[in-house]
């Protein structure tokens, strides 16, 4: 499942970005107020909820003191557990909550930080809340300290550490729309090519992935090449996932079946490569015709030798045009 985390400096406009981004990408937005309203009342009483609203320190308190010692967890751990569970079934956009740490090594997580200069943020507070410049500066100082402390207390991480984030965005000179556009682009790119932040883990994951690809046994070299062309275009595929029975003997035993080479999941299309000798091509054509007769709802395409050669040549010789 896709996870986007956004950390933000107060008055950098991070909330607005999170809200817009969650709407545009259809992600469930989870922020502190959501957690206070929907999750924490399950474990906290009224006084505790009030304290959780006010103090970062309170998140290190035990949420279930009645439980056995080894099963006791803090409010912060409770939130982390809930977030992880939620992320199993939903695409999430999480604002704050230390989510950049909780999902630090998650392969499908992208971490953004939104910052802005003090001047930008002061102006924003002056404009939105009618604060005087000095009051605004003081508010920012307190809010920044609160953010820093939360991450340090709960996760022992420095909030300012740049490598906690895939991207840090400075709002000075970037409009809301521009900021969203940048983030959406990166989200779009990473969808096909996810990678966790932890470099050590990533190397291992990459090595494993390469191993898997190398070990994958294709029936024919052309199939391997075709898989590369699909990968090149970010088209998701499965290799020979289904077999379709085509002929049965009088006892109902399948005597002829057909297993197309590829299934393009997003396009609900099967693809059969016929790059072999003519004899085999005729046989395959017959099978495809039968398949279309018996299973008219199945979309199957044949890539002939000539088409395949054109494709292969195009990607060796040519640029990005069709």
């Amino acid at each position: 499942m896709q996870i986007i985390t956004i950390s933000r400096q107060t008055a950098s406009g991070g909330e607005k970005i999170a809200e817009k981004l969650s709407h545009r990408l259809g992600l469930k937005l989870i922020d502190r107020s959501y957690v206070l309203k929907n999750w924490l009342p399950e474990v906290a009483d009224k006084h505790q909820l009030h304290m959780l609203e006010q103090s970062t320190k309170f998140y290190t308190k035990i949420a279930n003191p009645g439980a056995e010692k080894e099963k006791q967890i803090t409010f912060a751990e409770y939130i982390a557990q809930k977030l992880k569970k939620e992320a199993e079934n939903n695409n999430l956009l999480i604002l704050g909550l230390g989510a950049q740490i909780i999902f630090n090594n998650h392969p499908y997580a992208l971490h953004f930080k939104i910052t802005a200069s003090e001047e930008y943020r002061i102006k924003k507070l002056e404009k939105e809340f009618g604060l005087h410049k000095k009051e605004a500066a003081r508010e920012l100082e307190l809010a920044d300290r609160k953010h820093r402390r939360y991450l340090w207390r709960i996760h022992e991480q420095d909030w300012e550490k740049a490598t906690l984030y895939h991207l840090t965005l400075n709002r000075d000179g970037l409009s809301l729309e521009e900021s969203i556009s940048v983030l959406m682009n990166l989200i779009d790119l990473k969808k096909e090519n996810p990678g966790p932040l932890n470099n050590d883990l990533k190397v291992k994951a990459d090595a494993k992935e390469n191993e898997n690809n190398n070990q994958r046994s294709f029936g024919h070299e052309s199939e391997k090449e075709f898989a590369k062309i699909l990968d090149m275009h970010h088209i998701q595929w499965e290799y020979e996932p289904s077999e379709f029975p085509l002929e049965w003997d009088p006892d109902g035993n399948v005597i002829m079946a057909f297993r197309p080479d590829f299934y393009l999941t997003e396009h609900d299309t099967y693809v059969e490569l016929t790059t072999m000798k003519r004899k085999y091509t005729t046989e395959k054509n017959k099978k495809v015709r039968l398949l279309q007769e018996l299973y008219p709802h199945i979309n199957v395409k044949i890539v002939y030798k000539k088409d395949f050669e054109q494709l292969a040549e195009k990607f060796e010789l040519n640029g990005g045009e069709e």
Binding site: R24, L25, E177, E178, I180, S181, M184, N185, I187, D188, K191, E192, N193, K228, I229, L230, D231, M232, H233, H234, I235, L264, E266, H267, T269, V271, N299, K301, I302, V303, Y304, D307, Q310, L311, F315, E316, L317, N318, G319, G320, E321, E322
Partner: protein
């Protein structure tokens, strides 16, 4: 210009101009009073974009997108945007101007990439369309000419960067003597 490998002209300059007039008339009707961002896919659709856009009467912005296939060491690679749009297309009507749709592979990537930016609508207008044996069936809203599955050049289409500036579309023959 080198014309050794040029085969038969399959669509003349005159035919292109006439068809563009028809396409423009249809687009003018469909997009009447809407503001549209025209996205030209570089480089092949350059001439089609300039000729078509000058016949359009609705308010529009011109933008350009260039894609390229990057090869990795092991000869695999990915398609990437090498020149991105100038404008944000979020909430906007977008008309993609393509010169040719052959397999649907690039087309599929384009729709995925631009779709992620949440435009109000995306329509595709292609001058040439090869429907025979197309790998992916994706919606193409406006088509200039349906052609057979041959290698063609001219009017923006190239063979190794040559022949783009031909005013017509011709077959490219690899071994013309044979």
């Amino acid at each position: 210009m080198e014309t050794d490998n040029l085969g038969k002209v399959i669509i003349s300059e005159k035919e292109i101009a006439a068809r563009i007039d028809e396409l423009a008339a249809q687009l003018n009707q469909d997009f009447k009073d809407q503001e549209v961002i025209l996205v030209s896919i570089l480089k092949s659709s350059l001439y089609f974009m300039t000729d078509l856009s000058r016949k359009l009467k609705f308010p529009l912005k011109l933008d350009f997108l260039e894609l390229n296939h990057y090869a990795d060491q092991d000869n695999s690679g990915v398609i990437r945007v090498t020149r991105d749009l100038e404008f944000s297309i979020a909430g906007r009507d977008v008309l993609i101007i393509e010169n040719i749709i052959r397999t649907g592979l690039t087309h599929s990537y384009l729709l995925k990439n631009l779709g992620a930016r949440n435009p109000k609508s995306i329509s595709i207008c292609t001058l040439l369309h090869i429907s025979d044996n197309k790998l992916l069936d994706l919606p193409v809203h406006y088509t200039g000419f349906e052609i057979e599955d041959n290698f063609v050049v001219g009017y923006g289409l190239d063979y190794q960067e040559k022949y783009r500036n031909l005013p017509y579309i011709a077959l490219y023959e690899e071994n013309p003597q044979q």
